[in-house]
Amino acid sequence: MTVLSQEMAPIYEALKRYRSARIVPFDVPGHKQGKGNPELVEFLGKQCLSVDVNSMKPLDNLCHPVSVIKEAEELAAEAFGAEHVFFMVNGTTSAVQAMILSVCKAGDKIIMPRNVHRSAINSLILCGAVPVYVNPDVEKKLGIPLGMRVSDVEKAILENPDAKAVFVNNPTYYGICSDLRSIVKLAHEHGMLVLVDEAHGTHFYFGENLPVSAMAAGADMAAVSMHKTGGSLTQSSFVLLGKGISEGHVRSVINLTQTTSGSYLLLSSLDISRRNLALRGKEIFKRVVELAEYARSEISSIGGYYAFSKELINGDSIFDFDITKLSIFTRDIGLAGIEVYDILRDNYDIQIEFGDIGNILAIISVGDNEMAMERLVASLFEIKRLYSKDKSGMFDHEYINPVVKISPQKAFYAKKKTLDITKSSGYISGEFVMCYPPGIPIVAPGELITDEILDYIAYSKDRGCFMTGTEDMKIEKINVVVGEEE
């Protein structure tokens, strides 16, 4: 039995052994280490194609890990302080679904904030669980949803003692953290599990003086997007398990929908990134924090922009703030966040993560340096100088509390009809409408469509947000539930 240590990367090492063994492949994939697809080799490189291989005995099997993948999972569990870790190759979407599907079945209640990613509500459509929404607190000036107040979670728990779990979004896209420890304590006292969508919180496990991670707070499961701030390839992710959660049950649930041809490019990127963070994460995130803090102070000194941070902390719905996130309120220069986002890309060759009605978000990570920060700061300076407008008439409302009429699953499978979206007020939506990113639904299946929601959608479209969710690609029509109109 090998003694494992964080210097090791078992999947990566097995792939290197595979490559040097010069195996003649009579298995899939058919590109045969790239030889059958020279154009792809020219584009992606021979090194890359030579390890795009299928499961085999020396490389283990993602659906049923017994050797190198198992070892890599054990190392990841140690690095994250989890009881067990699953390597996920279908994105954090599948990680979130694995959590919810593992603890809820049809009709079960799950307590969650409404400002979750679409993947969480999609899980409810898949399993038929019923959401008990806790409306997140809202920062009025910034127009962003915050964390859940502990008292609101408590109220939901007391009113729904039969709920199976509390789902927490921590940190939010904007870097807002809830009081995770108190929520865990409260939920556990009432026999409920705590599931954490920690897509944006990989660094909490490695950096110093950052908000508490889900595992450290005692949560039962967490979904971690290693690819977002941890350096692995897009679509690779982890599910972390806390104490007392059945590894075998969760694996069965994951195997319901996860591919049986797990990509070794993704798996090795998780393995190598875990090793990097375990060995060097502390210094990496120290540097990320320094870059973000530097950018915040420079951007705030331009005037007109507000790069918000820990000063927002209120002890409850903003229990902590993730200072690696560079979230900037832009409305005071008369531009919507989405407009600044577009100007940065179209005129300054700078791609940031997203812009909403009032804010932009730049992701700062292991891959950034001072010179890149200077470009962002200098561009924001120029955008203010050249593009700023009178801010009157700007839409100042971001988050709309939903009116839930029926469960997402019921609405999704109900008989529906298609209406012009402008004429849909008063109907129950049969589908999602959202800006992507961030992918937080403005309206979700089963919710009442209101004039306020329609105004918000029209404004978002007008400002250039990338809208998605409806069957109609132009978001001009919407499917509404028949027989349930108000």
């Binding site: 060759d349 001072e370 010179m371 200077e374 470009r375 200098a378 561009s379 300076f381 120029e382």
Partner: protein, 284 residues
């Protein structure tokens, strides 16, 4: 034994200089810095393996990046130089008694220290009392200035690595803002010849002309740069470099090896294919 320095001018073209010895090699926070001694070009400086200057041909670059603007407006007093760690640009500027202040903003202090030690031919005037050297990113420095300079010279490396920020729209916009109402911007403008340099050249031109009412390009011949055909940009809020008073500059009695007032006019005459590229710069 034969020792050769080789630079890939493109993936398919190489340029080599026979080397006597390597005088210095150092990796700073930003780049690798080397100085070599060669029989043909004397000492030469490379950054990340890219030729910056040789003792034999640096006069062409440094005279032309300075004197065209100074002859166009001999009343220039306050100058900002960005990059230029080798000191050659400052050396040429220091020949004008009328200049009162030269701020030089170089990101990499190690380059300056090494040039002072190994390349006194260019670094000789960095101690001039009018020169203030600041070691920071030029992009950061320039956004803190408004309506301050008569002339900004961007003596940068190629737009890959530390010099990247100095070829951006935000940088040129910030320069516009830092210049006075009659300010001039001169920049190292890459080459029209090979594809990669050409794209950089066109992008720079596209971005500069968004801000400046006068936006021209002039050419020089630098034997050790890719293709030997190199460009500088001349942009101004007011001055047309072709409408200048040659006698005023000649009266200064500055002795040059490359620049003269005839060449001043001639260097703005550029080949047809380069003209077309500049006209179509928006396409990149």
């Amino acid at each position: 034994m034969e020792l050769w320095f080789t630079e890939n001018h493109t993936p398919n073209v190489r340029f080599s200089i026979k080397v006597d010895k390597q005088l210095c090699t150092k990796t700073s926070r930003f780049q690798r810095i080397d100085v070599f001694e060669s029989p043909e070009f004397g000492r030469f400086l490379t950054l990340d393996g890219i030729m910056m200057l040789t003792e034999k041909d640096e006069f062409i670059y440094h005279e032309m990046i300075v004197h065209v603007a100074m002859a166009t407006n001999p009343d220039i007093e306050n100058v900002l130089v960005i990059g230029a760690g080798d000191g050659g640009t400052v050396r040429e500027l220091s020949r004008y008694d009328s200049i009162k202040n030269i701020d030089m903003v170089e990101i990499d202090e190690e380059v300056v220290q090494i040039c002072k030690q190994y390349l006194p031919q260019t670094a000789c005037r960095l101690d001039d009392p009018r020169v203030n050297i600041l070691y920071l990113d030029g992009l950061k420095y320039v956004r803190t200035k408004t309506n301050e300079y008569d002339l900004i010279i961007v003596d940068s490396t190629d737009p890959f690595g530390p010099g990247e920020g100095l070829f951006t729209k935000e940088f040129y916009g910030n320069c516009f803002n830092a210049l006075k109402h009659d300010g001039i911007l001169v920049n190292q403008h890459e080459s029209p010849y090979y594809e990669q340099d050409r794209i950089s050249m066109m992008r720079a031109h596209k971005r500069i002309r968004e801000f400046f009412s006068v936006c021209k390009v002039y050419q020089v011949h630098i034997p050790t740069y890719p293709s030997g055909h190199w460009l500088f940009g001349f942009a101004s809020k007011k001055y047309n470099p072709l409408e200048f008073d040659p006698s005023r500059w000649e009266a200064l009695g500055i002795k040059t090896k490359y620049y003269n007032t005839d060449l001043h006019k001639g260097c703005f005459a550029i080949p047809t294919y380069v003209k077309e590229m500049l006209e179509n710069a928006d396409a990149v």
